[in-house]
Amino acid sequence: MNRLRYGLLEHRGTLLAGAVFVVLFSVYIANYQTGLNAAVATTVANKGVLLAIVAMAQTLPVLTAGLDLSVGMVFVLANCIASAVVVGSPLETAFGIVVVLAAGLACGLLNGLVIVYGRLQPIITTLATGAIYYGLALWLRPVPGGDINSDLADALTGQLPGGIPSMLAVLLAVVLLVWVPFRNSVTGRAALAVGSSEQASYMSGIPIERVKLVTYALSGLLAAIAGLLLTFVTYSGEASSSIGGTYTLNSIAAVVIGGTSLMGGYGSAIGSIFGAFVLRTIGDLLFVLDLDPLWQPLFQGMILLVAVSLSALRLLKIRNRLDLFS
């Protein structure tokens, strides 16, 4: 019983985000003309999974009390690389995918190296490296274009036998292959410890530098996976700073809605996935509720603002005023 209570408490952020998503999505489906069918689910999944994986990428540095403002640009860069190399025979395609993922890993590793050995603040470092990655993307794709292996693209953006969107399967694979091993490894545990208190982690003999390097590198890898998937959805590459910027900002919002603390040390990438789907569903919801398109951005912003302000409820529980400032 105690175990259960502890489990609930530990995962309350994720559970809450999941519950909000289920409620919003039910309202959405109830108001959608055709109800839930495979085609609707596939459309929703194709849009949601991209942000979900970028949000996972953002979660890792946030757990260590850092931040990665370059995730959106790595996402765009991977999109541009993929539109050039993921073509041709199955073997060439596979090689192209490896190139894209390696590029993402390299970008993340560069962030980590500058932050760890350069001892610069993550915010400003990733801001600057983001400009570099965007420049590289623009160099590859001065104008939108390129191509992608269309068989693979059709398979990944379509449905599995049984009507399940393939994108959801990809998301599940990413969770099982990246997040779960990371979270259960010593490094993953250490990342949370570093986020809680770097001093205490240092005193406990945690290899802080290695932990941070792994975290940022994985973040780059995840962002590149999302960029690769974007190419499968759009069939082309585009170096757009507004796409990169929007994804970076939305990823932070998704992480917060998913219950991860921006102060570090608490949270989960699973929560961020739900956070991303919540954000996406809000947009769709306003559409099916027949709200004047003119007012949609305003409502979307208001909902986001109210959602993040809900954390203010913790103020009600504060007994000692000094706790306000921690």
Binding site: A131, W139, G301
Partner: protein, 322 residues
């Protein structure tokens, strides 16, 4: 003599010196490229362009000194420009006369909401101002789409950002100079300034010392909002009209200017002189890269690399140790 050395040590910091060194290096490099680079006309024009960024950086800096950040800059700038131009359309002559104060006041109101969210609701500033940016964007969309407001800048706005009233100096530069003097006075000669630094270092300690920290944070966010809107008004005057997303290109350069000027991104340390130097450096860098007709590709890469390299020389944090 030794007194002089001590005084010099105290009043110079490596960030500002490095940044000044970079500015000189950029000017020399530019002068090889084109003789125009060292002409007073070109320099004044650069300073005029720098003033817009300088106004934004002023607001960004005071918030960063607290250890917070204001990500609502892009759309608050747009809001400021749009409200100023729209006021002239709505209220005729009175509106035209009050266009600039009205635009700035709208920015201050957004800053007030930001301040309430961050200081009193204790929502992390990064996420609250991000949400606020989305809300303001929504407001601007409704405003332009629903009411078809006037977007032409008034004469005064145009004059303020492009005119040269005094000794041939650009008005925008004079405005920035006035703001700079006011900021330096505020930060170094008033108790309010001391409180800002104290909160940036440790809010808890400032609170225990009797500072109404939440109120100070609120006021700083109002200043930041007003500055963003003022920059929007200037930009609208410069471009002769207000347009959507006009502030998008200002958020990151403003933060970069503040940090390159030696202000700690975590708050508590930094001087306004540094911000001035950082602003000029960023503007010159952008200008030289565009004069050399460097493609956007090279510009972005060099821009990012320069920021990292400069910070590596003087902005490094302390090593974690027991």
């Amino acid at each position: 003599m030794s007194a002089l050395v001590v005084a010099l040590r105290r009043h110079t910091n490596p960030a500002i010196l490095t940044a000044i060194g970079c500015i000189i290096a950029l000017l020399i490099a530019g002068s090889f490229y084109s003789a125009n680079f060292l002409s007073p006309d070109y320099l004044l024009q650069q300073l005029q362009v720098a003033s817009f960024l300088g106004v934004v950086a002023t607001g960004a800096m005071i918030v960063i000194l607290l250890g917070h950040i204001d990500l609502s800059v892009p759309w608050v700038m747009t809001l400021g420009g749009m409200m100023a131009t729209a006021s002239a359309g709505w209220w005729g002559d009175v509106g035209t006369a009050l266009a600039i104060p009205f635009g700035v006041a709208c920015g201050a109101v957004i800053g007030l909401v930001n301040g309430i969210g961050v200081a009193y609701l204790r929502v992390p500033s990064m996420i609250f101002t991000l949400g606020m940016n989305a809300v303001v964007q929504g407001l601007v969309v409704v405003h332009t789409g629903g009411f078809a407001p006037q977007d032409r800048a008034t004469e005064t706005m145009h004059e303020l950002s492009t005119g040269r009233a005094l000794f041939g100096l650009p008005n925008a530069l004079l405005l920035w100079a006035v703001l700079a003097v006011a900021m330096i006075f505020l930060l170094t000669r008033t108790t309010f300034g001391r409180k800002v630094y104290a909160i940036g270092n440790r809010e808890k300690a400032a609170y225990l010392s009797g500072v109404d920290t939440r109120f100070v944070v609120l006021v700083c966010f109002i200043i930041s909002g007003a500055m963003s809107a003022l920059a929007g008004v200037l930009l609208a005057g410069y471009a002769t009209k207000a347009y959507q997303a006009m502030g998008d290109a200002y958020l990151l350069p403003a933060i970069a200017a503040v940090v390159l000027g030696g202000t700690n991104i975590l708050g508590g340390r930094g001087s306004y002189a540094g911000t001035i130097v950082g602003t000029i450096l960023i503007t010159l860098l952008q200008s030289i890269l565009s004069v050399m007709q460097m493609a956007e590709v090279g510009r972005q890469i060099i821009y990012g690399t320069v920021i990292i390299l400069m910070l590596l020389t003087y902005g490094r944090g302390a090593k974690t140790q027991a």
